[in-house]
């Protein structure tokens, strides 16, 4: 679960990482009131979950409250990389003397948290890694050992922040690691971390939390970013909805559609052991996605039983006015029973994934 900047900053503030003063505005008037209160130049920052919003024009600066209102109205009517802007963060514009980069992420390869830091901030870290990798300090933390403040100060020293800032920058790195662990983050990032006349501040904040840990962070369920999802469901650009049991098989279903010249419209994984009700819900969910012209349901039953899938399909066809062609591949556990049920209901099926994908694409092209 990715958090908006303002939600991440609230967590930072709670855990002792200094941030610039700021408030959320959902209208031009609100932004103007906040800017008036601040009596200072402000940054107006679109709250979106996509990366690269600065380059995309999602951050503006102004020194008058009237302009703050105007800018905010404009930002609220735009989209950033396809994502609508529903609110902006109006905050003190930091007087930046120096910028740094700090992040902590799960390093899948070493299976340890990895701290990355650089004396050069406000940059695209991937660019920096490609062009000047020597400017990035990397430090793996042993997941069974305590990460101590001196280790964080050592990272700050290698960033060449200057002796007078070793303690304050070190403390922020140490606290960011506490946030990473305490909130079960995949990623905790400050880019840039800035030195200002008021001290060292997290000018931006990025947190991506582990969805699988939400059960032990009940307070996070109140965040607007939180969505409880029944399926792994991703909407795509094409017109053939792909449903499958299991992530790998569903991905492959998409790839087979593409290989035959079609374009997938959805990725929907019904998981293992899906009941007839789940199958029905899945079918109804993809139908609600307007570009869908054909549905490709790809099931090789393991824990999922083919007869349950057949029952779900038949129920869905019975209850919903149905004009979207459905191509079913049904094999695996209890396949004889599942295939018999479909045949009796007059529903055709395939047994090969590749043949079924080809058929789905042919039908789609003939429409």
């Amino acid at each position: 679960m990715k958090l908006y900047e303002h939600s991440a900053k609230k967590i930072f503030q709670k855990e002792g990482i200094p941030i610039p003063p700021g408030e959320i505005a959902r209208s031009g008037e609100e932004a103007q009131m906040i800017a008036e209160k601040m009596k200072k130049a402000v940054a107006i920052k679109s709250q979106v979950l996509v990366g690269g919003r600065g380059k995309a024009g999602g951050i503006k600066f102004t020194d008058t409250p009237q302009k703050a209102a105007k800018i905010t109205r404009k930002l609220l009517s735009t989209q950033i990389k396809g994502e609508a802007v529903n609110m902006v963060l109006v905050e003190h514009k930091a007087e930046i003397q120096k910028e740094f980069y700090v992040s902590i992420a799960t390093d899948r390869s070493s299976r340890k948290p990895l701290i990355m830091a650089s004396g050069e901030g406000g940059v695209d870290i991937e660019d920096l890694a490609n062009n000047r990798p020597e400017k990035i300090i990397k430090y793996h933390v042993n997941p069974l050992d305590e990460f101590l403040p001196y280790q964080a100060r050592e990272i700050a020293r290698k960033m060449e922040v200057g002796s007078e800032f070793i303690s304050s920058v070190g403390a922020i790195i140490w606290k960011l690691f506490q946030v990473f662990q305490k909130y079960d983050a995949h990623l905790a990032e400050i880019n840039p971390l800035v030195i200002t006349p008021e001290g060292v501040l997290a000018a931006d904040a990025k947190l991506d939390l582990d969805d699988d840990s939400i059960y032990r962070h009940s307070e996070l369920k109140n965040l607007e970013e939180f969505e409880s999802e029944e399926f792994a469901f991703v909407k795509l650009e094409g017109d053939i909805a792909v449903i499958g049991n299991g992530a790998g098989l569903t991905l492959t279903g998409m790839d087979m559609i593409k290989l035959n010249g079609g374009e997938p419209a959805t990725f929907l994984d019904i998981g293992g052991g899906a009941s007839p009700e789940i199958i029905k819900k899945a079918l109804n969910l993809v139908i609600m996605h307007p570009p869908v012209k054909v549905i490709f349901l790809n099931v090789l039953g393991g824990i999922t039983r083919a007869d349950d899938v057949a029952r779900g399909v038949i129920n869905a066809l019975k209850d919903t006015p149905w004009d979207v062609p459905l191509v079913i591949r049904l094999t695996g556990t209890n396949e004889e029973e599942g295939q018999r049920l479909l045949s009796n209901a007059g529903v055709s099926y395939e047994t090969s994934m590749e043949d079924a994908a080809k058929k789905a694409v042919e039908i789609c092209k003939s429409l």
Partner: protein, 285 residues
């Protein structure tokens, strides 16, 4: 065969839970050498032919056991895994949705104790005809000489199913798990297949996310002489989205199918674009 063979003596953690009970019955039906169950607070109960114990140590005190398969729910899985790692040589974690920070601690501890961890979020391991430690439908598999290693459960079934129907079979199939942090890596499993006299060729099934396949390619170039055929799922996956598995996500430029396919092809691995192509290649062996 590898990991799961005639010397395997396995206990089941979480044997009295719904998943644990159902799959223990299935594993016993497949004549897998399951020797005991563990559920804290249910010591002394019977489960079919098995006795349930209160802890892993309680089992090791009274019988010879070297492996555990874990079905306990995610909030308790780290505890169960540490308990097993402290006593046994091989631990298979079937549980899905374990927080990644827990998994990182489990893997670090396993390394310290020199214990092999398979998973989490894996269908497990099957050595057809010998036994299965996992949740896969046994009827899809046939004994044979193809080793399969995979990040995906149902995709393993797809390939195994096609291999079996073509008249060939599998030596061992290992699911390494779909999470961002897992115990066994491709390279370790490929090396075991390389050393295994029962395995003639290997099928490696990868997917988008991370760089496990790229690392495997480097390893294959230096260490593997038997034929490797690979398939990578997710050529059409968009960046920045988790595609079902927690680990199946393209982050920035990293973890794309194209990068994995290129890395594998560069070291001479035959990467197929659909499962039936793989079966055609295997037929020629």
């Amino acid at each position: 065969m590898i990991i799961l063979d005639k010397n395997t003596k396995c206990l089941v953690q979480g044997i009295t839970g719904k998943q644990g009970a159902f799959h223990t019955e299935q594993m016993l039906e497949y004549h897998t050498n399951i020797v005991a169950g563990v559920t804290p607070g249910k010591g002394g109960q019977k489960f079919g032919p098995l006795t349930v114990y209160d802890s892993v140590e309680a089992v090791t005190e009274v019988m010879d056991v070297n492996t555990s398969i874990i079905f306990v729910p995610a909030p308790f899985a780290k505890d169960a895994a540490f308990e097993a790692i402290s006593q046994l040589d091989t631990v298979i974690i079937i549980t899905e949705h374990i927080p990644v920070q827990d998994s990182m601690q489990i893997m670090e501890y396993a390394q310290r104790m020199d214990t092999t961890v398979v998973g989490p979020n894996t269908p497990g391991i099957i050595s057809p005809g010998v036994g299965k430690l996992g949740i896969m439908p046994a009827h899809i598999f046939q004994p044979g000489d193809i080793g399969i290693v995979s990040r995906s459960g149902t995709l393993t079934y797809e390939f195994a199913h096609q291999i079996s129907r073509s008249g060939k079979g599998q030596s061992t199939c290992v699911g390494i798990g779909g999470d961002p942090v897992v115990g066994l890596e491709f390279a370790t499993v490929l090396q075991k297949f390389e050393d295994d006299p029962d395995t003639r060729a290997m099928v490696m099934i990868g997917e988008i996310g991370g760089n496990a396949e790229e690392k495997a390619a480097q390893y294959i170039e230096k260490n593997i002489s038997k034929p490797v055929i690979a398939y990578i799922a997710g050529t059409t996956a968009p960046p920045g989205k988790r595609m079902g598995h927690a680990g199946a996500i393209i982050e920035g430029d990293s973890g794309t199918a194209a990068s994995k396919i290129q890395a594998l092809e560069e070291v001479g691995v035959h990467v197929v674009e659909k499962p039936s192509d793989m079966v055609n290649i295997i037929k020629e062996f």
